[in-house]
């Protein structure tokens, strides 16, 4: 009888723990995981919601882009590229618009996107 009771408690504990973690996982903000890719290669997957403030330097063909993560947001701070489109895009704030540096083949985008593609 006592054995049964312990098993029920264990089952209940496992059930509750799993239920709670499932809810937490499934409700995690969809737009906080950011992917940083250089020339098609995935360099970093960062969860902005728990990432400390820091800078990341991405190098491609001797050219550098300096990325800044601050207050759970990300942007290109400086870039060795002629057009500075990536810097001028500012903070990444929408899954619709990735930060793209065409000259240095750099992409910064949110991972979760409820659409299969964006027309623009």
């Amino acid at each position: 009888m006592k054995k049964h009771f312990v098993l029920i408690i264990i089952c209940a504990a496992v059930f509750i723990a799993a239920a709670v973690s499932s809810v937490v996982m499934l409700n995690a903000p969809a737009g906080d995981i950011v992917k940083i890719k250089s020339n098609g290669e995935l360099l970093y997957t960062i969860d902005l919601s728990n990432s400390p403030d820091r800078t990341i330097i991405v190098e491609y063909n001797g050219k550098e882009n300096t990325l800044e993560i601050k207050d759970h947001k990300i942007r290109v701070l400086e870039a060795d590229c002629p057009d500075k489109v990536c810097v001028n895009t500012g903070w990444l704030d929408s899954p619709a618009i990735p930060i793209i540096c065409l000259p240095n083949k750099l992409i910064i985008e949110f991972e979760n996107n409820d659409a299969d593609a964006a027309a623009r």
């Binding site: 054995k3 049964h4 098993l7 029920i8 264990i10 089952c11 496992v14 059930f15 799993a18 239920a19 973690s21 499932s22 996982m25 499934l26 890719k37 020339n39 098609g40 057009d83 704030d93 929408s94 619709a96 618009i97 990735p98 793209i100 065409l102 083949k105 992409i107 996107n113 409820d114 659409a115 299969d116 593609a117 964006a118 027309a119 623009r120």
Partner: protein, 353 residues
Amino acid sequence: MRKFVVVFVCCILFFCGCADSVHESVSDISGAQSNNVSLHTAELFAMDTYMTLKAYCADDNPLNSAQAIIESLEKELSVTSSDSDISRLNNAQGEEIVLNYDCAELIKNALDLCERTSGALDITIYPILREWGFTTGDYKIPVPENIRSLLTNVNYSAVSAAENSVQLPSGYMIDLGAVAKGYTSDKIISMFKESGITSAIISLGGNVHTLGSKPDGSAWKIALTDPNLPQTYIGNLEIVDKAVITSGSYERYFTGDDGTRYCHIISPFDGHPINNGIASVTVIGDSGVLCDALSTALFVMGKEAAVEHWRKHCDFEMIIITDGGKVFVTEGIHNSFSLSRVYEKSKLEVIYR
């Protein structure tokens, strides 16, 4: 005791099922295929844009072939690289030039579309685009005399195309920028089909082309950028087996010393950037090259003429968004289009035949 083990295992299995798998694997989606297919993806930088390719297939070969198609077309069609077919043609000074198959094919295709749109699409606009600085990023408002004199060299009907050779009058230049990506996506999709793929989606710098539906049979969901607030989506389109191509004034523009905003879509009729109240035109249809060409041409025509063109031809649907944020959706596609929640339904109007 055994009962509890079963319950315990069931709990674990139940919650394992909640975990989302990124790598979808689908078997026997068409019934005819016996081997497993899974999602294969590729990303590349080409034709001055960022491209993503996704296909449900057995291996990476179709994606490698797609990249080869893109690279070879880029080599032939680029207006900026000096050894492309287009550059040879633009520097031929009136001589007839023999071109590679795809380049000749696309020019002939594009000339038909120039004709169909009565010159609203004109592949000989390049010298004027260059004068405004849109080819280099060195923007300027040209002096009116320059536009007037350059306009004498803008007329698609002066281009003569034979089997695989093309002749431009001296002083003329062509640019296939308005059709190249559409043509490229057509080639990739038909190669995918020949490889037996039944489910794929590609985006060539925001020009989207889909093959079939998603493996589970549901439609592809395409987000449409709000041209008046380009960092947000204005709505979603659910499509199967279609190309979705947008031309928007927000893509490339500059603000002149006179404070006016000039966009990169230029009227072949007066040589000036279009300013007719349209912010973007999205064309949905079977053919990538048609959608690509029409998205530019309908933008140039303006809303009334675009609607007239749609009523006359039955091979495309469109969504026009104005500077004021009104959304016009043609009858054939409006059931597949939904505005994002924050946008007012009152701003949407359906156009009927």
